[in-house]
Every structure is written in C-alpha cells, then in structure tokens.
Symmetry: C2
Subunit: 122 residues, 2 copies
DNA sequence: GCAAATAAGTTTGTAGAACAAACTATACCG
DNA sequence: CGGTATAGTTTGTTCTACAAACTTATTTGC
C-alpha cells in the first residue's frame, strides 16, 4: 500500500527513473477516481442535486445496483461522498451527498478536462 | 474475442437483463479507447499536430516508451491512427497520424465530455 | 576494433479494477 | 407460508494499464 490514491501526478522533468525514459502524464493530472465513466455519472448527478438516494442514482445513471454500490463505496473511502443509511417506513434508504472535498474534486476535474479539450478545435 | 471495442453503448430502456436492474451508462456514451488518460494525451497531441514521430510523442506526453508503444498499438487496431515505419538515416522512425476515423472519435469524445461537464456549473 | 552506452522500439508479467452475477435480508402479496 | 419485489452488498472473472525486461541496431570510448 505504498501509493495513495489522489490525482495522478505529472512527472516533473526531474532525475531519471525506470525504462529508458520517464513515466506517467502531463499537464495538470486527471483524477482517476472521478474520471471513471460510471463514477463520473454518479458524481455529476450528485453535483447538481446535492443529495440523492441510492434508488434515484440507480435510475438516473442506468447502472446496476452492484456497480452503484461498489462505486459509492470507493467514493466514500476517498472522502468524496457522505453516506447516510436510514429507513423510510420499513424500507432501508441510503442517502448520498457530495462532501466539500468531493465537490472540489469534481470542479477540479472539470477544469482539467476543459483545458485539455479546449485545445481540440475542429 | 467476442466483444469489439467501439464506444460503450447506453442501455436503451428495453427488455430486462442481469441484476435487479439494468446495466451500463447513460447519455451519449464515452469511448473508453479515447477516455483513457494516457491515450487521451496521445490523441490530443496527434489531433493538433496531425503527424508526429514516436519520440516526439514520448517527449510531449511524458509517458514511457513501453506505454506509448502499447497504446499506439491499440489505437492502430481500432483504426484511430495510422502507423508508418521508416528510417531516418540509419535510425528507425515511426510516424503516427490520426485517421479520419480517429479525428472523428476525438471530436465526438470532446463533444460528449463537454456536454457532460457543461452541466456542472459552480 | 571491441566493449559499453544510447537509441528506438516491443514484449511480458503483474497488480488493480470495473462489471455482472450471485447472494443477503426484509417486506408485501395472496 | 411460498413467491415476488425492494434495497442493497459480496464475490468472481476478465480485462487492461503500467513498469520492467528485452530486442536490435548504432554510435562512442578507449
């Protein structure tokens, strides 16, 4: 467990390592946690509604329950979403909310991508 | 080798399959081949310069030679780039070029992402 | 002129994940 | 009760990105 899971850092042109040349990335780093399509969908939903239950996300994203569940877990572990488990009547209900950290990550991701995509004029 | 590698298709609300609910995605589909950060970098480079040799891409992206090589292979298999191997003096040189299909894929990806990200106002 | 470094790649091994399918647990329905 | 629906979680498999090791050829050093 030596590599934590923040955004992928660019390699600054510093001293040599591995292969003939240097490893990973450029520019301003893409957060893989946000980048993943399924998660991006979930995060985008949460970003605009700011609070949603499990079933809502299921419907909105069209993902399977299993996938929503595991992706939400990852986002929770990363501190990007807050999970609140309760009941509505007799049925369980899980409410998801973006943390401030999560919102920041999404904003940052959006900006990074906009920059990258901005360079691609027709 | 049963699953070809075009863009990930959204599940149209059609008849049931797997899990309690339905599987993958929403909206207009994200092409994973383009989406992958390393490849996105390569494609973005090629998109703007329209022709580049292996070493140039290496330098521009900061990726390792191994990664450039394998990613380029995938892009070639997908028909997104055209690979031309030759020599400059005595040294080998590989020239990469986006195919029209590749350019279209990048444009499409850009549009999809812009749409997705567009919904995320501060 | 032969070793060692450098250049331009490719191939291989492995660790990490995304996804689907199977499962748990409870509630309602007849 | 037996079956189906709801709300999730856990498990298993397959895929794949990345780094490291390997080619093959070419300069450069001595």
């Amino acid at each position: 467990m030596s590599q934590v899971n923040g955004p992928v850092r660019p390699s600054d042109a510093g001293s040599g390592e591995s292969d003939t040349r240097r490893s990973t990335q450029a520019g301003t780093a893409i957060d893989k946690l946000v980048h993943e399509p399924a998660r991006l969908l979930l995060l985008a939903c949460l970003y605009v509604v700011d609070a949603a239950d499990f079933v809502f996300l299921l419907r909105q994203t069209g993902l399977t329950a299993g996938n929503v569940s595991s992706h939400v877990s990852k986002l929770e572990e990363a501190g990007y979403v807050n999970v609140e488990k309760g009941f509505v009547g007799k049925r369980p209900q899980t409410i998801l909310r973006l943390t401030e950290q999560g919102r920041a990550a999404v904003r940052s991701y959006r900006d990074t991508m906009n920059q990258l995509l901005g360079s691609l004029e027709d």
